[in-house]
Structure formats: structure tokens, C-alpha cells
């Protein structure tokens, strides 16, 4: 098992430490090429190092409501992946919803008139005059470095960001974007001090200053909870409800536009190891507190439909809760050590986690247990995600051989890609009868009812009891430890802890894009079919 992963690494021309990094890597479907990089201005470099870890959020701003054009297929296709929240709008089933939210996107008061030509492209300079007419349509990368949140245009080749927002009191740590936001506030930013802001991304882009504008402030100066915000997520279709995960093991539920409470008066947590939910007595923010575990909650992720929320943390447990009923559904322990990241598959059947045991875990919601361990990282796994835009090259539509593509990044500076083929997972011996993890198309398979009852957590499995996966590709993408990855229709984005982002174009996209300033939206129009097919795959 060790040798196989090493072989994969060697196949891709791993260069020894200190050597140059290759600008491409090969997969069975073709070459992924480094298209461009995004980072913060160099002057900022040394100062912020090591204090906070860069995370990146993808945000797509659509046409302003005053724009006459109806949402086009390209608009749907360039759907942004809201990091972790998985609130993506893809495929055929979402058309009507897409229409309605575009209509409801008209909260930005300062915006008037339309600027149809004003896609914020490569040619635009950094010193943008304050322009309330600027409609800011496009796809943006939001990332934090030190005390600053930077915004870059994904589609421009400019390395430097187009906007920076400084925070004077504490460092930003996490952020989330909701493209379906009903009023202006679509961007959330959580700080190390526990403070949280909601703002309108468009409004930030239209302002020339280096401060947040029009922000709503929650948990001011950490008055409700002064531990660090580790993760933040909009509740999908939640009417502006969002969840913040804190380093003291709590989640808080907030509703935007609601007043903050001076005295939240949640009861004292008696047993740190027990899950408990408390609701605010007045209807002020935060409206609820979920105590998850002892120690930090490191990451949270909603299933795409918003029914479930997954949490991972210091105690090494993945927990999956029913969001509405506030009940623990299932969960289990890592092999050892804390878990650092988690992410859902588009269909809500699987959850990936990564952590301090160097393993990528695949959790099955049907089986309510770990069904595979991915071995291949040489250090902690810091980012995991399913590639929802990828389709198996030889899928014949019979749907029997289902393949999921996913990626992981680690502190070993590597990006690994994996294929999860349901009929290829080796069933380990000594498994109780009837418990084979064969792929089931049913929503809830019955054969596990005996094994693990709803609402319980499972202990760490033994090494020999879990089927192993080997990576398809292992590629050293940065010189610094990595902190995250994102998939877009055209590319894979990797980000390192120190704030460098690399954009790896998918096979087929790289050639047509390398020498041009073409916007992604344009290229999408050229290839509406391929994206359409990909996104409808496995809905």
C-alpha cells in the first residue's frame, strides 16, 4: 500500500525537495496545467506568517437585477462553489430556483443602472475609481492572509488582488459566500477574536477604501463567545441563517439582520463531552448554541440540500446532525488525532474528512460508517473535496459502475486525486454477514440497521478493517504546506497556508485558455454541453 502511492508520486515526476515544481500533472483524462497564480502583494509577506492560515472562498456575482438579460445557461454553469457550504446550483433541477433568486438579488441599494460591458477583467487596473455603476459581475476569489481579506478576480491573469480589506483588531480566519442571498449581504467573515461580519461583496468591490463597508457586526468583541471562529457556513436555503464554529467546541446560529443580544444567557455547559442545544430566550442573535464536543470544532459543512450538517474537530470525531431536528444522526472517530476538514458529495451520500492521521476518510451516509481510507499523504490532510464537475470518461449511462472523483491536499505540499469506484472497494474479511458496502441506490439501506443505531458515534476502526484507496495522482503543487482546494468547472484551485493560490486548468480547458485573456464565462458558452453534462451527472 505504501509502495503504490509512492509509485503514483513517481509517475508524476515528483521533484525532490528544493527542486522546481512542475507546472502540469497527468491524469488518465489528460493534463492539468498551471494556468496562473494569485497571491497577496509581496510587501505583506513576512509579517503575517504562521499566525493564520489562508482559506479561499469562491464567489460568483451575477447580473444585477436591473439587467435585462435573463439568466443564461452560462450563468448556471459558472456556479460558484461556496466553500464547505456546498450550496451550488447545478444541473437541470434547479432552473426555477435559479430564476427566483436572480430576481431576488436586488438588495444593493447603491447600485443603479447597468454596465453590461463591465465584466471585471484582466485589463482593469487596481486603482478603480469609486463607481457605484460598476456592477461587479464575475467570479471572485476571497482569501485571508494575516490581518487582511483579499479579493481577486478569478478570470483575470493579474496575480495581485483587486481589493484588500484590513481588520485592525483581529485576523480574519474563515469566510463563506451565498450567491442566493436575498438581500445584499452575501459574504460572511469570521475572525480569530470570535467577531463575525456579514457584508455585500458587490458593495465592497464598489468601494475604494480598505475597510469593510456596510457591515453588520455579530458577537462584537467576542461578547458572546471570545474563542476563535474556525469555520463559517450559510445554511442552504436558510433565509440568511448562518452557523459559526468556534474553537471552544460550540456552534452558534445567527440570523442576519437580527439584532445582537447584550446578554445571550445560554446555560453553562455542564458536561463538555455531551452534545447539547440551547435556544436564545429572546429572539436575538445568536439564536442558538450547539455544544458539539470538547476541544475545537475545526470545520463544518452542510449537505447541499441543507438537511444535514457535518462537523469535525480536535477530538477526532466526524459528527453528522440533522439540522432541523437538531439531532445527532451518526459519526465516527478518525484512526487517530484531530480531524481538520470535511466535505460532502453533491448527492449527499458521502462525506470526506482529512486530519492528523494523514488519511483521507470516506464516510458513507447509507452505511453510517467509514467505507475507505485513502493512503498517500505524507503529512496531515488539510483540505478535501469531491469534484462535482468531473464525469467518468467511459460512463455509458447504465449507472452501475458509479465513480466519484475527489481531491485532497495536505501539509506535505501535495495535491492528490482519487477515484472512488463503488464496486472496487475490497470488502475486508471477517465482516458481519449482510454488511457489504455495495453501492446502494436507495436512500437508506436497511442492512446496517443492526450494526450501528442512529445517533451513535463509532470508535476508531482498526487499520486492517478498512479498505484502502490509492491515489490516482500525487503532485507537489506548492513549496508551502497546503490549506485547501476547490473545484470549478474549468479548474482545480489549490491554496497554501501562506496565501498563494494556484489555478490548474482541466484537460481541454488549458490549451484554449493559456494564451488568451478569455473569461471563464465566455469559455463556458463555448462548451455549454460539456459542463451541462458534468453537472447533471450524479444528481
Amino acid at each position: 500500500m505504501i509502495s503504490s502511492s509512492t509509485a503514483a508520486a513517481n509517475n508524476n515526476g515528483q521533484t525532490p525537495a528544493g527542486g522546481g515544481l512542475k507546472t502540469y500533472f497527468k491524469t488518465p483524462e489528460g493534463r492539468y496545467k498551471l494556468h496562473y497564480e494569485k497571491t497577496h502583494p509581496a510587501a505583506l509577506l513576512h509579517y503575517a506568517h504562521g499566525k493564520t492560515i489562508t482559506q479561499v472562498t469562491l464567489a460568483q456575482l451575477k447580473d444585477k437585477p436591473s439587467a435585462t438579460a435573463a439568466p443564461t445557461s452560462s450563468n448556471l454553469g459558472v456556479s460558484s462553489g461556496v466553500r464547505s457550504a456546498a450550496a451550488r446550483f447545478l444541473g437541470t433541477g434547479n432552473g426555477s430556483r435559479a430564476l427566483s433568486f436572480v430576481g431576488g438579488n436586488g438588495g444593493s441599494k447603491s447600485v443603479s443602472g447597468s454596465n453590461r460591458t463591465g465584466l471585471y477583467g484582466a485589463s482593469t487596473s487596481n486603482n478603480l475609481p469609486s463607481n457605484s455603476n460598476f456592477d461587479a459581475k464575475g467570479t471572485y476569489l476571497i482569501f485571508n492572509v494575516g490581518d487582511t481579506v483579499f479579493i481577486s478576480d478569478l478570470n483575470s491573469q493579474d496575480k495581485d488582488p483587486i481589493k484588500s480589506i484590513h481588520f485592525s483588531n483581529s485576523n480574519p480566519v474563515c469566510h463563506a459566500f451565498d450567491e442566493d442571498s436575498k438581500d445584499g449581504h452575501d459574504l460572511l467573515i469570521g475572525l480569530a477574536s470570535g467577531d463575525v461580519y456579514s457584508v455585500s461583496l458587490r458593495q465592497q468591490l464598489q468601494d475604494v477604501g480598505k475597510k469593510l463597508v456596510g457591515a453588520q457586526h455579530y458577537n462584537k468583541d467576542g461578547c458572546v463567545n471570545n474563542s476563535r471562529c474556525n469555520s463559517i457556513a450559510w445554511v442552504p436555503s436558510g433565509d440568511g441563517t448562518f452557523i459559526v464554529a468556534y474553537a471552544d467546541g460550540n456552534l452558534y446560529v445567527y440570523e442576519k439582520n437580527k439584532e445582537g443580544s447584550g446578554d445571550p444567557s445560554f446555560p453553562i455547559i455542564k458536561d463538555q463531552t455531551q452534545f447539547s442545544v440551547a435556544h436564545a430566550r429572546n429572539s436575538k442573535n445568536p439564536i442558538a448554541r450547539w455544544h458539539i464536543c470538547e476541544g475545537s470544532v475545526n470545520s463544518i459543512a452542510f449537505s447541499r440540500d441543507g438537511a444535514y450538517i457535518a462537523t469535525v474537530g480536535r477530538d477526532g470525531y466526524l459528527r453528522i446532525f440533522d439540522y432541523k431536528s437538531e439531532q445527532l444522526i451518526c459519526g465516527g472517530k478518525s484512526y487517530y488525532g484531530a480531524l481538520l476538514c470535511c466535505s460532502w458529495s453533491m448527492d449527499g451520500k458521502y462525506i470526506l474528512t482529512g486530519g492528523e492521521d494523514d488519511l483521507v476518510q470516506v464516510w458513507s451516509m447509507d452505511d453510517r460508517k467509514i467505507i475507505a481510507w485513502g493512503e498517500g499523504h505524507n503529512s496531515w490532510v488539510s483540505g478535501v473535496a469531491f469534484d462535482s464537475y468531473w464525469s467518468a470518461p467511459n460512463t455509458d449511462g447504465t449507472g452501475e459502475n458509479v465513480v466519484y472523483r475527489f481531491g485532497s491536499v495536505g501539509q506535505d505540499t501535495q495535491l492528490l486525486l482519487w477515484d472512488l469506484e463503488m464496486d472496487e472497494i475490497v470488502v475486508p474479511v471477517r465482516r458481519p454477514p449482510g454488511g457489504s458496502p455495495t453501492f446502494s441506490t436507495g436512500s437508506q439501506s436497511s442492512h446496517w440497521e443492526s450494526g450501528c443505531p442512529v445517533g451513535t458515534l463509532q470508535p476508531a476502526p482498526r487499520m486492517r478493517d478498512v479498505p484502502k484507496l490509492s491515489p490516482l495522482v500525487a503532485h507537489r503543487v506548492h513549496t508551502e504546506p497546503l490549506s485547501g482546494l476547490l473545484f470549478t468547472p474549468q479548474s482545480i484551485l489549490t491554496v497554501c497556508r501562506e496565501g498563494q493560490i494556484k489555478i490548474w486548468m482541466r484537460p481541454g480547458f488549458a490549451e484554449s485558455q493559456t494564451n488568451s485573456d478569455t473569461l471563464l464565462a465566455t469559455s463556458l458558452k463555448d462548451k455549454p454541453l460539456s459542463t451541462g453534462k458534468t453537472s447533471s451527472y450524479r444528481q
Binding site: 455531551q274 487517530y336 492528523e356 445517533g455
Partner: protein, 371 residues
């Protein structure tokens, strides 16, 4: 010094563990290598308890001459019996004895903490074995006193037939490695067992302890100049060799080989590589797939950019709090601060505080699952 102590007491407040003492150790000129290791050993609770027991059992035998063992027992007793909860102690007798006994440690030069730990543990083993043999011979007619080797000697599966005594130092730190060599000609597997008190691991940039342990146990091919003499073939043959852990130790001490001899420079160089170590660890490279589970309780940290100078400090977990020991000073730190001692992802970095020796203690399986 007193003020620092009260500050720690204030920080812990009512959570100050019952009966526990947090004392800094005075530095007698470059003795931080010694202080940092002593703190890690003091907070290795089973080791401390055995040593205190040894002290109590040997106190009555006033004739015993001063050894490194009695000096260490003395020092631990001195710390644990302090009236105050915090403060500073001068490990004077211990350091004097150390310098007297081994000229390596006599100079005021910077010393290697791992070398010291290794020397100390082996010395303690020697002394305990000597005492046990002596006691056996002297008191063969009498009923053997219970404190012979300071603990029961049963339960050692491998060495039962052999002469070597199992002292409590062994019981705490000793593990068994098996070195399997498979001759590629006749396929015969030769296994040779060897004991260890700590594991010295080669390190790589941006890797984890898990990965370093995997490399330690990975298969190595012996060929060309480095062939293996196969007893069955009676000749030099190509072979495959791998190290596995046959018996995991109760206390797993991991030494990161941060000081590497660079031939081109003909001197040692410090590797500042970022090597992450989790607070919990399992050994999966064992013979029996036992998944032995461990929890980190101490880290000896080397501070500085080169091998011949610098400083040692230690991080210690005691009763669920992490403490930072820097010679005389003791501070409370947050658990999350442990990760600032992983190392640097870039070669030249302002951060020179790097985890050097890791102490993991075995966790008994079957701990409860939170819900």
C-alpha cells in the same frame, strides 16, 4: 522567580492539580539540555512514581554510594516534596555527578539532549541491573526483598529464558524491533530482534511523524556493495530488509534526526524541516497489527539554527494542561501552541524552535466514546 511561580499558580487557580509541583530548574551554564530532558522525565508519571518508590526503598540503606540513579531519585523527591507548588530548584548534585562521571558532559559547550537522555537511561539500567544482581547473590538465602528490581519481573514474553533483567526502566521505555531479512535467492526470512529505548527517525521536509515511522519500517533492498550473507545459501545474496515493531513500548520516545552530518561541509547541520506530530498517535507498523495507541505528553525543543549552539526547552502535558519549561521559568501554554514547534516549511525562517524529542505514553484501549 517567585513572581513567575505565583503567576502560574494564578493562571491555574483552582485547577492546580492536587499534589502536583511545577518547578523550574536552574541552569549551571549550558545545562539546558539536561533540564529539558529532566522535566520531560519528571512528567512521565510511571517513571517518576517508580523512581520515588526506589528512593523510599533505598533511603533506609544509608550505606549506598551516590550514583546517577540516587541523584536523580533525590532530585525528583526534592521536587515532589516541596511545600510550595511552584518555584525553582537547583539540580546541583545531579549535574555534578553527571559531569564527574562522563567527560562528554563536563565542558560548558552545547550538548545534545538526545545523547544525554540515551546516556541517562542506559546508565540507570546498568545501575538497576547491578543492584539486582548484587541483591540476588547477597540475599540468596533470605527471602528476596521486594525492591530488588523495584518491581515484579514477570510478564516479559520474549526474554523469559534469557538472563537480562527487566528493570522498571525497561518496563517503561523498552520496545522490541524485529529486523526481517528475506533472501531473494532462497526466500528464507531471517528475523533478528533488537530492543530499543527510543526510536531515531530520519526526517523529511513537510512530513509527519506518521510518515517518518512508515519510512522507518519501509522495505529496503540490500544489493550491490551491500549484499546480505544468507546462512542457507552460504553466500552473499540480494535481500530485502524491513524493520517492524514487535513489542511497542509503554512510553514511546521518538528522536527526530535534526542534526545531520553533511559530507560536503564536513560538519553537522541542523535540519529545520517542518515535521508535524499529532497529539495522538498509533503505531500501525507492528507485527501483530495491534494498532498500539499513544498520547503525546512531552516535547524537548531545540531552539537555534545550528547544531553547536542554541538552547533547549520543553513542553509538558500535566493533568490536561500544557506547560512550557525554560530552565527556571515555567508558564502555562495553550494546547494549540504546540504546533508552533513543528519546524519551518522554508529553509531560512525566523522560527528556530523545533520539536526534537517526542514522548508519547501508551493509552489503554477501550476508552469511552463521547456522544
Amino acid at each position: 522567580m517567585g513572581a513567575a511561580g505565583s503567576k502560574l499558580e494564578k493562571a491555574l487557580g483552582e485547577q492546580f492539580p492536587e499534589g502536583e509541583r511545577y518547578f523550574g530548574l536552574e541552569n549551571f551554564g549550558n545545562t539546558c539540555y539536561c533540564n529539558s530532558v529532566l522535566q520531560a522525565l519528571y512528567f512521565c508519571v510511571p517513571f517518576r512514581e517508580q523512581l520515588l518508590e526506589y528512593y523510599l526503598n533505598n533511603k533506609t540503606l544509608t550505606d549506598s554510594e551516590e550514583t546517577l540513579l540516587t541523584c536523580l531519585a533525590d532530585l525528583f523527591m526534592q521536587i515532589s516534596s516541596q511545600k510550595k507548588k511552584t518555584g525553582v530548584i537547583a539540580p546541583k548534585r545531579f549535574v555534578q555527578k553527571l559531569k564527574k562521571q562522563n567527560e562528554i558532559f563536563r565542558s560548558y559547550m552545547h550538548q545534545d539532549a538526545h545523547e544525554f537522555l540515551n546516556y541517562l537511561l542506559n546508565e540507570l539500567v546498568d545501575l538497576l541491573e547491578k543492584e539486582a544482581r548484587k541483591a540476588k547473590n547477597d540475599t540468596a538465602s533470605l527471602s528476596p526483598p521486594e525492591n530488588v528490581a523495584n518491581g515484579p519481573k514477570n510478564g516479559h514474553p520474549d526474554g523469559a529464558q534469557k538472563e537480562p533483567l527487566v528493570t522498571w526502566v525497561h518496563k517503561n521505555f523498552q520496545g522490541l524491533l524485529t529486523n526481517e531479512t528475506r533472501c531473494l535467492q532462497c526466500e528464507t526470512v531471517t528475523a533478528r530482534d533488537e530492543t530499543f529505548l527510543d526510536l531515531s527517525l530520519d526526517i523529511e521536509q513537510n512530513s509527519s511523524i506518521t510518515s517518518c515511522l512508515k519510512n522507518f519500517s519501509s522495505t529496503e533492498t540490500l544489493n550491490a556493495e551491500d549484499k546480505f550473507f544468507c546462512d542457507k545459501c552460504c553466500s552473499l545474496q540480494e535481500a530485502q530488509k524491513r524493520m517492524k515493531i514487535k513489542k511497542p513500548p509503554q512510553i514511546l520516545v521518538i528522536h527526530l534526526k535534526r542534526f545531520k552530518y553533511i559530507e560536503q561541509l564536513s560538519r553537522y547541520k541542523k535540519l529545520s524541516y517542518r515535521v508535524v506530530f499529532p497529539l495522538e498517535l498509533k503505531l500501525s507498523n507492528t507485527v501483530e497489527d495491534a494498532d498500539a495507541e499513544y498520547s503525546l505528553f512531552a516535547v524537548v525543543v531545540h531552539v537555534g539554527s545550528g547544531p553547536n549552539h542554541g538552547h533547549y526547552v520543553s513542553l509538558v502535558k500535566s493533568h490536561n494542561h500544557w506547560l512550557f519549561f525554560d530552565d527556571e521559568n515555567v508558564e502555562m501554554i495553550d494546547e494549540s501552541a504546540v504546533q508552533t514547534f513543528f519546524g519551518s516549511a522554508q529553509e531560512y525562517s525566523s522560527n528556530t524552535d523545533h520539536g526534537y524529542i517526542l514522548f508519547y505514553e501508551g493509552v489503554d484501549a477501550g476508552s469511552g466514546i463521547p456522544s
